[in-house]
Each structure stands twice: as structure tokens, then as C-alpha cells.
């Protein structure tokens, strides 16, 4: 079983496919669960622990908007833990400042910098695209099993 980072980090389709093909998906909800199960946080991710900014600073400089560093405090450790990654490019919710596009660029850069097995896709919009999407993900995940 390989730890596979999914991007978007809260993707239902990718997390389901990774689990279905026998691997462990790494998604942001796991990090949130860790945070809320620790006493002392009332409303994460609006509340943060004193350690979170320090974790964020490992990935983004102090001049970078605090929102990017806050998000990286959640996403950074997942990227470090990942042994492979499945990335879907340009999903609508990641567009613009509301989707924190800069964090998304940084996450994609850091995934590539890790040089782990990486599959890059686009969301399917037709039946043929969906077939292609499923086959690519399945083949990629099976190749991880075989250690190719």
C-alpha cells in the first residue's frame, strides 16, 4: 500500500479511486481531523496553534500572504509524507483568490520537486474522457503496486 497524495486535496473522486485500488489517499481532511482532535482548538482552521505558522514558514517566506502559509501548514506535511501523487489540473474551485491560486501553484511545484511518481489529469466532461480518466488512474495505481 502506497500513500498517494490527491490534488485537489479534498477531491472525492480521486480519494475514492485511490482507496478502491488498494492504496491510502492523503487528503487535507486527515490533517483537519488531527487538528480538531487535539484539545485547545475551538474552530480550526480559523484557529491555529503556535506551531502552525512555523510549519508554514518551511514552505513559504514571511512576505507571502498569511493565508498561503496557513494552508501550507496543512498541505506541506502531506506532500512530505506522499510516496506518489495524482493531480487534477485547473478544477474550478481552485480558481482565483477565493481558491487560493498561489497556494495551489506552490503545492504543484512542491509535488514536482519531490520527484515522486506523478499522474496529471483533467476532470472528465464526456463519457470517453471518463473512461480515459479511470484507466489512467487505475494503471498508475497498479504500477505503484508493482513498484515500477
Amino acid at each position: 500500500m502506497v500513500k498517494v497524495l490527491v490534488y485537489p486535496a479534498n477531491s472525492l473522486i480521486l480519494a475514492d479511486l485511490v482507496e478502491r485500488f488498494g492504496h491510502e489517499p492523503l487528503s487535507v481532511q486527515q490533517e483537519i481531523r488531527e487538528k480538531i482532535s487535539a484539545p485547545g482548538l475551538d474552530s480550526p482552521p480559523l484557529n491555529i496553534t503556535p506551531d502552525d505558522p512555523k510549519i508554514g514558514l518551511r514552505y513559504a517566506a514571511v512576505e507571502v500572504p498569511s493565508g498561503v502559509r496557513g494552508r501550507m501548514a496543512l498541505l506541506g506535511p502531506l506532500i512530505e509524507e506522499a510516496e506518489a501523487a495524482v493531480v487534477v489540473h485547473d478544477p474550478d474551485p481552485t480558481f482565483g483568490c477565493m481558491g487560493c491560486a498561489r497556494t495551489n501553484e506552490l503545492v504543484n511545484f512542491l509535488i514536482r520537486a519531490r520527484k515522486i511518481p506523478l499522474l496529471e489529469l483533467k476532470y472528465p466532461s464526456t463519457e470517453d474522457d471518463a473512461r480515459d480518466f479511470v484507466v489512467r488512474v487505475a494503471e498508475f495505481l497498479k504500477s505503484l503496486e508493482n513498484g515500477k
Binding site: 481531523r33 480538531i36 484539545p39 474522457d129
Partner: protein, 150 residues
């Protein structure tokens, strides 16, 4: 530091199925008699409890419709006031991602069933033109009509 929530996982079960409704899914999960918090939602269910119990429940849920049941993790417990829409304004964080993907679930479900049956062996190469001849076009129309009549 340990808390009561240690070892507790919460999963969202999202249905894209013509065979089962959220009510039937809940009946199946309740019939397992596990120590779980289960909440019925319009899209499926939220299940929370010890990891092994949740995994059993998911296995049973998938057995109802292997390609129509999709699962992802949730950080917060079901009905947590920090996330529940009953106690806060606007869409729940994470809703937009689910909304985006739910539209594509029927496509993924169909592709998954074809893949498991071995109908999909070759994948299209990047940039390759889609070869949609008259025969394939007829097949798509027949598939669509069959789906509509179910």
C-alpha cells in the same frame, strides 16, 4: 495529547446510484449493529466511529452498488456546529468541491464498471483524436436510451 476523538474517523458516503437511496444505505449500516454515528443526508450518509467499524460499514455500503457508492474522509464529526449548515450561514466548506465532482460521478461510475468488466483495455494517448465512427456513435445512443429507460 490524547482526546476522546483519537482513533475516530468520519467518512462521507456519496451515492450516484440508480439502485439505492440513502434510506436503504442507512438500513444496511444499522443492520451491522456497530457502534457508529450515522447521519442520513440528501447525498448519502455520514458515518463516524472506530476505524475498523467504519471500514466494515463502507464494505457493506459498497456491496449494495460497487460502482455507485463513493467515499471520502471528513475531518469533522457529523453535525459538528463548526461545520453544520444548521448553525452557520452559507455553504459548508468543502461543498463546492463535492458539487463539482457529483456531476461527474455517473460518468466515473460507468467507466469504473466497464473497467472492472475488462471492457477498457486500451487508453487513448495524450492528444490523440477521438475516433468516433458511425458504429460507435450508434452504440452511445443505444447506451443512453438504455440508461434513460432504467
Amino acid at each position: 495529547m490524547k482526546s476522546d476523538l483519537d482513533g475516530v474517523v468520519t467518512k462521507l458516503i456519496i451515492l450516484s446510484s440508480k439502485r439505492i437511496m440513502p434510506g436503504e444505505l442507512l438500513s444496511k449500516i444499522y443492520s451491522l449493529k456497530k457502534d457508529l454515528i450515522v447521519k442520513e443526508t440528501c447525498f448519502g450518509a455520514e458515518v463516524s466511529g472506530k476505524k475498523e467499524d467504519v471500514e466494515d460499514a463502507l464494505r457493506e455500503a459498497r456491496s449494495l452498488d460497487p460502482y455507485g457508492v463513493f467515499v471520502k474522509e471528513r475531518g469533522f464529526l457529523p453535525g459538528d456546529p463548526r461545520r453544520c449548515r444548521a448553525t452557520r450561514a452559507g455553504a459548508r466548506p468543502g461543498f463546492h468541491q463535492i458539487e463539482l465532482e457529483v456531476k461527474r460521478l455517473p460518468l466515473i461510475a460507468k467507466a469504473l464498471s466497464e473497467y472492472e468488466r475488462g471492457a477498457l483495455e486500451m487508453r487513448r494517448e495524450e492528444g490523440e483524436e477521438l475516433n468516433l465512427n458511425a458504429g460507435r456513435f450508434k452504440e452511445i445512443i443505444e447506451d443512453t436510451l438504455k440508461d434513460m429507460s432504467v
